[in-house]
């Protein structure tokens, strides 16, 4: 029975199926909201799901110069890694895998998801993918630093009066927020939350920061040679990543158990994810044109890192 419940948590809720459903919902809502803000009708909310299915139905072409195994394997590996990340992130108080549910593990695994994408692109043998992956690395360097600072800030804010001085376990963070109210309401954590809101779109490659997939400049960049099912897996990974990042934000700054009634908590969790997605992804998308490579780098290492550092200093000073 215990195993069955565990399996249910991993495969259905809040695991695989729920991740995919939320990914599709968030991505579809994102497209729709952006379209509405640009005074368009916009695609149906299920559009990302149609895109996914369509890609599954297309022929898979493997370029003659590609390394077959890596080219085909890395999209699946990336997806599996991302799903395993989401196993560690609590939703409405459920964590599918409680062991090692740790911010540092999540940080590592999220990096590996991007590395898988880079591997696939590098093995495709296309010069456009080469340009794309070098840009993706620039993006990674840009957002990793503020991301790490934000994680340190949260860990310190939660564990200031613990003997270890910092708490990296998400369960600990949730327990702290249950006792003391959401972290977002303490003034010292607000700069870190703002920095995190900027990290989300770059981490997920959403529009103004999608330098690695700039379709008009470098032919979709890293995905230039992908078609068929591997492409579908990439798109799915992308969607689920949006959900993973926003639910990570919710878990880190807003907590999980709001009322104690499970269905209501789930509903509030979903709404909060949508709100986070709207602020961090849809608004910049509608307002801003795609940034240049050095602009992204510059922006993240000055403004966003500035916010994150300010948050860290505030928390360390014990404000």
């Amino acid at each position: 029975m215990q195993i069955l419940i565990q399996l249910f948590h991993i495969l259905v809720f809040p695991g695989l199926l729920f991740d995919v459903a939320m990914g599709v919902l968030l991505m579809g809502l994102n497209n729709k909201l952006v379209a509405r803000m640009q005074n368009r009708v916009g695609p149906p909310i299920l559009q990302p799901w149609y895109d996914f299915l369509k890609c599954c139905g297309k022929e898979t072409i493997i370029p003659a110069r590609a390394k077959r195994a890596v080219f085909l394997g890395s999209p699946y590996l990336g997806f599996v890694l991302l799903i395993s990340v989401s196993m560690f992130i609590p939703f409405a108080g459920f964590i599918p895998v409680t062991m090692g549910s740790d911010l540092v593990v999540i940080l590592y695994l999220l990096t590996f998801v991007s590395v898988c994408e880079i591997l696939g692109a590098a093995s495709s043998g296309s010069p456009f993918a080469g340009v794309g992956l070098s840009r993706e690395m620039v993006a990674m360097i840009s957002y990793e630093l503020p991301f790490v600072l934000v994680i340190l800030t949260v860990a310190r804010a939660v564990g200031a009066d613990q003997p270890s001085g910092a708490v990296f376990s998400l369960e600990g963070i949730l327990a702290y927020q249950e006792m003391n109210g959401p972290l977002l309401f303490s003034p010292a954590a607000i700069p870190a939350a703002i920095a995190m809101l900027f990290v989300i779109p770059c981490e997920t490659g959403m529009h103004p920061f999608d330098i690695a997939e700039a379709e008009t400049e470098i032919c979709e960049g890293m995905l230039a040679e992908y078609s068929g099912t591997p492409l579908a897996m990439y798109r799915l990974t992308h969607m689920v990543k949006v959900y993973t990042m926003s639910s990570l934000f919710v878990a880190m700054f807003l907590g999980n158990r709001f009322t104690g009634i499970v269905p209501v908590d789930i509903l509030i969790g979903i709404l909060l994810c949508i709100a986070v997605m709207f602020i961090s992804a849809a608004l910049p998308h509608a307002v801003c044109a795609r940034l240049k490579v050095e602009q992204v780098f510059h922006f993240y290492w000055t403004v966003v890192t500035g916010f994150a550092l300010a948050g860290l200093l505030l928390v360390w000073a014990g404000v």
Binding site: G57, E59, P63, R65, I218, Y226, G228
Partner: protein, 188 residues
């Protein structure tokens, strides 16, 4: 059932790849205007991709100049099946005002089958949207056909066979040879 879903979503998410084969830019601008808020083709799921590998509908504009013909054939060969070819404007069909020029290698039918042809110089955005919607329907049909030929989801080999038949039907069997040639060339 999954296959049926895929068939259905073929029509709902056609991605466009645009090839400019020596167009005067009039048609290109009209195609872009189709994606603007006024006509918003994205509400039907259309999406302009940057690479032929992800395309479902290939839109060709311009009178196929000598310079572009080689690139045109190679790009068309890179598009995975099922795919649709839409000729945009009068140029790819007849050569239009450029007809008779020494630099023209058109019409487009010489090199590939054309599923939908949107006439006009330049075609109205409404006509382009209608043409693209028609192409999306043909796409779904083609996917059904492919499934009948190959049973389950098409493996590359099956798709190539289907493609060969299709090409033969349209009297352009040499395009398949060109495709292999192009891939080998890229390899070398």
């Amino acid at each position: 059932m999954f296959q049926k879903w895929i068939d259905k979503s073929m029509r709902k998410s056609p991605w466009i790849y645009h090839i400019n084969a020596g167009s005067c830019n009039g048609c290109d601008i009209e195609l872009v205007s189709v994606l603007t808020p006024r006509y918003d083709a994205e509400r039907f799921g259309f999406h302009l991709t940057g690479t032929p590998r992800q395309a479902d509908i290939v839109v060709v504009s311009g009178p196929i100049t000598m310079q572009s013909v080689d690139r045109l054939i190679r790009t068309l060969a890179q598009v995975p099946e099922p795919k649709c070819v839409v000729s945009l404007g009068s140029c790819p069909r007849s050569g239009n005002v450029f007809k008779g020029s020494f630099a023209i290698a058109g019409p487009l039918e010489k090199y590939t089958h054309v599923d939908v042809s949107v006439g006009g110089c330049t075609p109205k955005p409404e006509a382009i949207v209608a043409g693209l919607a028609k192409a999306a329907e043909i796409l779904e049909e083609k996917r059904r056909e492919m499934r009948k030929h190959g049973g389950m989801a098409p493996s590359p080999a099956v798709a190539a066979a289907v493609e060969h038949e299709e090409r033969a039907e349209f009297g352009t069997g040499d395009a398949t040879a060109v495709r292999q040639g192009a891939e080998q060339e890229a390899d070398a």
